[in-house]
Subunit: 324 residues, 2 copies
Amino acid sequence: MEESKESEPMKALWLENNQISLREIPQPNNPNEALIKIRRAGICSTDLELVKGYYPYTGVLGHEFVGEVVNASDPAWIGQRVVGEINAACGKCEACLNGRPSHCEVRTVLGITNRDGVFAEYTTLPIGNLHRVPDSVSDEVAVFTEPLAAALEIQQQTHIKPTDRVLLVGAGRLGQLIAQTLALTGCDLRVLTRHSYQRDMLSARGIRFIPEAEIQPRKWDVVVEATGSPEGFNLARKAIRPRGTLVMKSTYAGNITINLSSIVVDEITVVGSRCGPFEPALRLLERREVDPTVLLSAQYTLAESIKAFDHAAQSGVLKVQIEI
Amino acid sequence: MEESKESEPMKALWLENNQISLREIPQPNNPNEALIKIRRAGICSTDLELVKGYYPYTGVLGHEFVGEVVNASDPAWIGQRVVGEINAACGKCEACLNGRPSHCEVRTVLGITNRDGVFAEYTTLPIGNLHRVPDSVSDEVAVFTEPLAAALEIQQQTHIKPTDRVLLVGAGRLGQLIAQTLALTGCDLRVLTRHSYQRDMLSARGIRFIPEAEIQPRKWDVVVEATGSPEGFNLARKAIRPRGTLVMKSTYAGNITINLSSIVVDEITVVGSRCGPFEPALRLLERREVDPTVLLSAQYTLAESIKAFDHAAQSGVLKVQIEI
């Protein structure tokens, strides 16, 4: 049966030499992994950066998805609606054996590093990467599990106290999810935004924004930088108080010049933060503590996915989803 | 009585326009602070950097000392042999009221910022900055309380587990004290040294060093950077494992260019670390768990203090003390 699947073609959005194109490629065939029929996928900033060529990658793009398991070594998974962690680990290296599979040194990353992604009819992932989606969580909501988990990674790494004054710099795709999860801690949260539609989204949830001119320097217990630009770091650095914690969620190409001595003198803690835990993200979605659908700007079919990428790259557009 | 002290002269080592000179200046007179007769003081890297003009300062140099209280509003302190925390805080600002007096925004710093230091016959400090020195701790050992406290600040900020693989980059004045305190945790410690005399000092205490070529990249749970140079940071960055903690003890002039995205992707925590707690430092000295005297290269009198600075600036010289 798997033999026949190997030869069956499927549609996929392929990235090669900074160009995306719709292609017919063979369905994936990996008997060690679950075969997943993609139901819906989301376009992330990382996808847009991959297309710009900021990181080298050739293959099927996409890593935010919800799908249905159609083949798996454990039959209990077949028919399950799932989301999937994007780092596929070896299980044997020092990082894996020490409980850090997302930092496995030979990991592949769905749609990002040596592993075809989810803007396609099918993908495969190790069963260990999969999480069942509760029935009450819709497909369009479930696609936000991965970025919501990335938002929760902040609290996985850094203790946010209810009394903390927290500044979030950036209110884009990831920033809005971070704002919603930080607000749940009860902390005194302010968000620095760039656009009025970002402020409207925050206001609708009772989250307070702050104009840049009103950000008191050296006063904030925790500052989260999620702008995706180097300027965000410098702004965050000015705002953080001595012995405060600066959480960095942005990745961008290139280097930045900083004064390390001032970080020593002020005893700042800088925490790099990336992928996060799926189960708590699914719990928050199931309980409707977080509403990611406010981010949804548009949806397209897989056949329209090049148009979807053009749309996602426009200023003011947050999440664009692709129905497969 | 204090009136008369104001007019009495004393000898002091004065820094002005990158020049140190021995001067006669009036004895300090601050009725709100304890008057301390300096017994012995130590020359620190920061003193050498101040002379080089890396930071602006005019006044009496020096911040590592042991002395005797000769006047204080609380008579119980008079006659006590003491060491003193170097940051004099206002007690009223947000940092002070939140338990971070060493980060008081209007603090003065002994011999460093707006407060005459200890290469002099007398200095003053608030009583709250003072710590009694146990009788069994000699003057020459007690002078090391301040740098030993700075070494302990690492463990005040970062949980060093007994199972951690810890790399210390740098084995100079501060590095040797850090090596001795880290070794007490039982962690698997290796020290990167530059000079054979540094290795000899470590070996004498059973602390293991490691050649640069043998430092496995991306493998160390905790890396402490104490070289005082920007190259140290890059070396530490290469050694730290994903989700590891990089503790920075070095201050140096100028900026450094780093790849922040890689810190996000590897989820590194970078911790700036400066002054530390005096009481635990005194406890370790009293119990002889740490032996700072191995660092003692030479001692001079106050009259010879310019010669002492020349000596301290030479390569291979660790701690030079001045008997007042």
